[in-house]
Every structure is written in C-alpha cells, then in structure tokens.
Symmetry: C2
Subunit: 144 residues, 2 copies
C-alpha cells in the first residue's frame, strides 16, 4: 500500500496530480486509512503507469478514461459496442504509429547525413528529410 506521497514519488509526479486524477475519474485509491489518507495498491500503480504512458503518446485524459473503462462482458450484448470503441482506438493508434515511423525515418536520415555523411548537402532540414519520404507526392516531375 502506497500513501499518496509515496506513489507520486515512485512515478515522478505531483501529489496534486493524483488528487486531480481522482477528481476526474481516472484513478481512485483502492482504500483509505482510518484517518482518511489515500491508500494505493500495486494495481493502482499499474493503472497510473498506463495513464502516464498513454498521455505520453498523445491521448487526452478523456480518451484514457474511455480506454480504462473498456470491459469485455462476454455475457452481455454491449460487446459489440466495446469492440467498436476498441477498434476506433486501434485505428487512432495505428495512425499515430504511421506518423511516428515517418518521423523516425526522417530523423535517422538526418542523423546519418550529419557529421560525416557525404550527402549532407541534400538533406538539410527535417522538412526536406520528410519531403523525400512523402508518399503522397503531388504535382512533381511533370516535365515529360
């Protein structure tokens, strides 16, 4: 069991952020001490880390709340609804993955061109690096 300060320190966030997440229905401590102190379990910590990771890759707290609320209830026909939500989030993740992969390629190219690359004159900015990596090339090379 962690008290608020312990969990906050372990995850390198502010105590108030934990209170804020509680108020905003993202993470509530599993219990309270006699005197009202918040008590968090290992599982609470896992949830917190999930929240922090999700935030880091660009999900809003509202989206994270949705992700956390996903429950496949096999006995329930809300299952189709759940699947729809999951698939929607999956598409969002896949779009982000595609963007990031593009950034990665460009930055690698830029890194390689820099300091020692013979072709450094070619790829001078992140934008040029990205352009040569573009797949929706339009109205270019139209000289026949």
């Amino acid at each position: 069991m962690y008290r608020i300060g312990e969990l906050a320190k372990a995850c390198d966030i502010n105590n108030d952020t934990l209170r804020f997440y509680e108020k905003n229905a993202l993470l509530s401590p599993s219990s309270r001490s006699e005197s009202g102190y918040r008590l968090y379990t290992e599982k609470d910590k896992d949830i917190l880390q999930f929240i922090l990771r999700a935030k880091n890759v660009g999900f809003t707290l509202a989206e994270i709340r949705e992700l956390l609320s996903i429950e496949v209830n096999k006995a329930d026909n809300a299952c189709a609804d759940v699947k729809e939500l999951v698939d929607t989030k999956l598409s969002a993740v896949e779009r982000k993955l595609a963007e990031l992969t593009r950034f990665q390629t460009s930055l690698k190219r830029l890194s390689d061109a820099c300091c020692g690359g013979e072709e450094s004159a070619e790829h001078c900015t992140i934008l040029e690096a990205l352009e040569s990596n573009t797949d929706d090339v339009r109205h270019e090379h139209h000289h026949d």
Copy 2:
C-alpha cells in the same frame, strides 16, 4: 498562394490558430498582400501539416519549434549540436513507438477476444490485456 482562411480550411483548423502559430514562431506566411493579408505558399502548407502531425503524436509546440529549426550546415561545426538534438528527438520518437506498439498489441488482442473469441473471459480490460503483454514482469511466480 493561400489566404489565411483558405489555408485554414484546407487543413481544417481555425484562422486564429494560424495567427497564433505565427506569433509563436512556428509558421509565418511567406509574404503579405498589398493590403497586409497573409499569403501562404505550398511550402508553408507542408510546414503546417508537419506541425499538425507532430502535435498529433504528442510533441509540444516548443518541441516542434526545435524540430523545425534543425538545419544541417555542412560548412559549420554546429553540426555536432544539430546531431545531438536530432538524436535526442529520435530517442523520444523511438520510445513513443515502443509504447504505441504495446497499445496496438493490447487493443488487437482485446478486439479479437471480443464478440466471438472463445477466450474473452481471459482478457477483459485494456489493463489485463496490457499486463499479459508486459515485459518487465516483477516478483511473480516465486513459489519454488
């Protein structure tokens, strides 16, 4: 040449957002009309799209400003500095990629388990799906 309203509409953002980006040194129109209207080129549009994509994958405007300022100057020994910045951003991108891949796996698993999967009872929440996907398993299976 796009006027502010045209570019904004083309990229599905607000006119004011473009003025905001200009004030914050992210994107300035290449020129102005006689009467002072902002005039954006195709290249400006590319930069804008870069900004929007970067935002979408969780970069702050400050980080995006840094990315945009990257210039490999082959005649200059600031090159090492540039490489360092690029490599720092590359690490950030690769961390995000790893996180996203993890989300993707979990969401896929969840989607498959739902509506028709026979193992749906096993993977009921995004958290459980993630847990079984965790590679930093700690203090588990310690019964000898």
